[in-house]
């Protein structure tokens, strides 16, 4: 019991450390430099070599900026909204495996924080709680634009959540389990799920962008639309919290995508074991996730923004039927034995 607690605490500390200390500053820099590169301009290059210290400067700025609360804002809800953005995003990593099973002093330690059998469901459940920050931020700001932005954003999120969930279900059928290490093991012995389920992956990818309010689906927080949408009235540290929450949820969904479709922490023909395998596995996982994050930034400056009605139409009339057809196809294929799966 003691041992379990310590092991779990260590794993949590590792993952949280990667998320909080790693994702936000690195992504800030990557986003700005890569956007600049795509737009043929230098980007931040004055602070430190290649502008690497820019993140620190931004953090200092956020911390010292004056904290303004709008008059007539619903105080408790207003203060709660940024926290509600971070909490679901930060808790979803518990079901992602990041390495092979380790043996420490005679006991097997699976490298995953939560060994519950309902793994992916827990991920989906926790990420569906992210809607609340949008709604409460929009409502509590005492600002009609924020309210509209918040309602639109949450409608977008719950619509695309459906397509996401159905796509995830299809990816789980061959592995036959909600527990992600099983899915990873399946992909190691057979094939990366993205190859037979390319359509499902496409649906998941598009839904992923919509779930994190990233271009081309960022109408609710776009600058030329409802000012800044649901987080118009949030300044300084609170805005930084929303910002961080967005990056962290991007990372979390990318981790899920990598684990479900791209083999997670495993490499195609290499069998990783032991402590060295664990370190390599973690590196592999982070490498794949960073490719996804680069893709996020790449898409941001490539496509124009969807108008709200186009967005909803895409979610309900295109993605959801496609995801359901994909699920049907995978189910039939598994039963017919074409899919090397549970059957």
């Amino acid at each position: 019991m003691q041992f379990d607690l310590i092991a779990t605490a260590a794993k949590m500390a590792l993952m949280l450390g990667i998320f909080i200390l790693g994702v936000a500053p690195i992504m800030l820099w990557v986003e700005r430099r890569m956007s600049a590169f795509m737009q043929d301009r230098p980007g931040p290059n004055r602070l430190g070599p290649l502008g690497l210290v820019q993140g620190v400067a931004d953090a200092v700025k956020f911390m010292f900026k004056e904290d303004v609360t709008p008059e007539g804002a619903d105080k408790p809800l207003y203060l709660m909204a940024p926290a509600l953005a971070l909490i679901p995003a930060l808790s979803t990593y518990v079901v992602i495996p990041f390495g092979p099973d380790l043996t420490v002093s005679g006991k097997t330690v699976p490298l995953i924080v939560s060994t519950g059998s309902a793994g992916v469901l827990i991920f989906l459940a926790l990420s569906s709680l992210g809607v609340y920050s949008l709604i409460t931020a929009g409502y509590a700001s005492n600002n009609k634009f924020s309210l509209l932005g918040g309602i639109r954003a949450s409608a977008q999120l719950i619509s695309y959540e459906l397509a996401l969930t159905v796509a995830v279900l299809a990816a789980l059928i061959p592995a036959g389990s909600f527990y992600l290490p099983d899915v990873v093991a399946y992909q190691q012995t057979h094939v990366w799920m993205v190859i037979p389920q390319a359509i499902g992956f496409l649906v998941f990818l598009i839904a992923m962008f919509a779930e994190t309010n990233r271009l081309p689906f960022d109408l609710p927080e776009a600058e030329s639309e409802l000012i800044a949408g649901f987080h118009t009235e949030y300044g300084a540290m609170r805005f930084a919290t929303f910002f961080m929450g967005e990056y962290i949820s991007m990372t979390a969904l990318s981790m899920l995508a990598v684990t479900l479709y791209f083999g997670g922490w495993t490499l195609p023909w290499v069998h990783l074991t032991g402590w060295l395998g664990a370190i390599v596995g973690l590196m592999v996982l982070l490498g794949k996730v960073s490719l996804f994050m680069l893709f996020y930034v790449w898409v941001r400056w490539t496509f124009p923004r969807f108008r709200y009605d186009q967005l909803m139409r895409l979610g309900w009339k295109v993605l959801l039927p496609l995801a359901i057809l994909n699920l049907l196809g995978v189910a039939v294929a598994t039963l017919a034995g074409w899919f090397p799966g549970v059957g």
Binding site: D74, L77, A118, S128, L147, S154
Partner: protein, 183 residues
């Protein structure tokens, strides 16, 4: 350890349930309901139903209550006004009724669970695979009926809540947010 978790989340669930039924602002009541639902999800996991617990958060707290919040914000429902006459008596009667209900039920429950023990929680009981097998074989008819029910609900909600087809001539000048905003 389990008892500690149970007590903590039971207290949270009861406290937020009281907030749900007493708080003046409906938005706060709804957020308290979310807290209650979350605590109940923990209860479900303690009772050996992690699948139901995850579904509770995913469906109930993540979708149904969001729907409540949507409607609250679109209709801009304000807080309940001050008490009307007869309200206090009304409240005491309701409280008495609820108290009598609990008073009658609790001894019954204790007597019902007297002899039996909860038994061992096996892997098989918790497994989602067995749950699914039951759902799709033994309870297939009920499953299909519920699916039909959901379809009917979708159609009904759409029909009931949409804008009336033809606006009468001389429509009111002020429009509520509901008819303007079509999210």
């Amino acid at each position: 350890m389990e008892a500690a978790i149970f007590l903590l989340f039971a207290v949270i669930a009861l406290g937020s349930a009281l907030m749900v039924v007493t708080h003046k602002s409906p938005v706060y009541a709804t957020m308290s309901l979310v807290v209650t639902l979350f605590s109940l999800a923990v209860m479900f996991v303690l009772l050996g139903a992690p699948f139901i617990g995850a579904l509770q958060v995913l469906v109930y707290a993540g979708a149904i209550v969001v729907l409540f919040l949507f409607v609250l914000m679109l209709l801009n429902i304000s807080k309940e006004e001050h008490q009307q006459e007869g309200q206090t008596v009304h409240r005491w009667v309701a409280l008495l009724g609820a108290g009598a209900f609990v008073g009658l039920l609790v001894p019954l429950l204790y007597r019902a669970t007297q002899g039996r023990n909860a038994g061992v929680l096996t892997e098989e009981f918790v497994s989602i695979r067995a749950f699914a097998r039951d759902l799709f074989t033994r309870y297939l008819l009920q499953f299909e009926i519920v699916g039909l029910l959901l379809l009917v609900a979708v159609v009904a909600a759409t029909v009931v809540a949409r804008k009336p087809p033809a606006a009468p001539s001389g429509a009111s000048g002020t429009e509520s947010p509901v008819s303007e905003v079509e999210p």
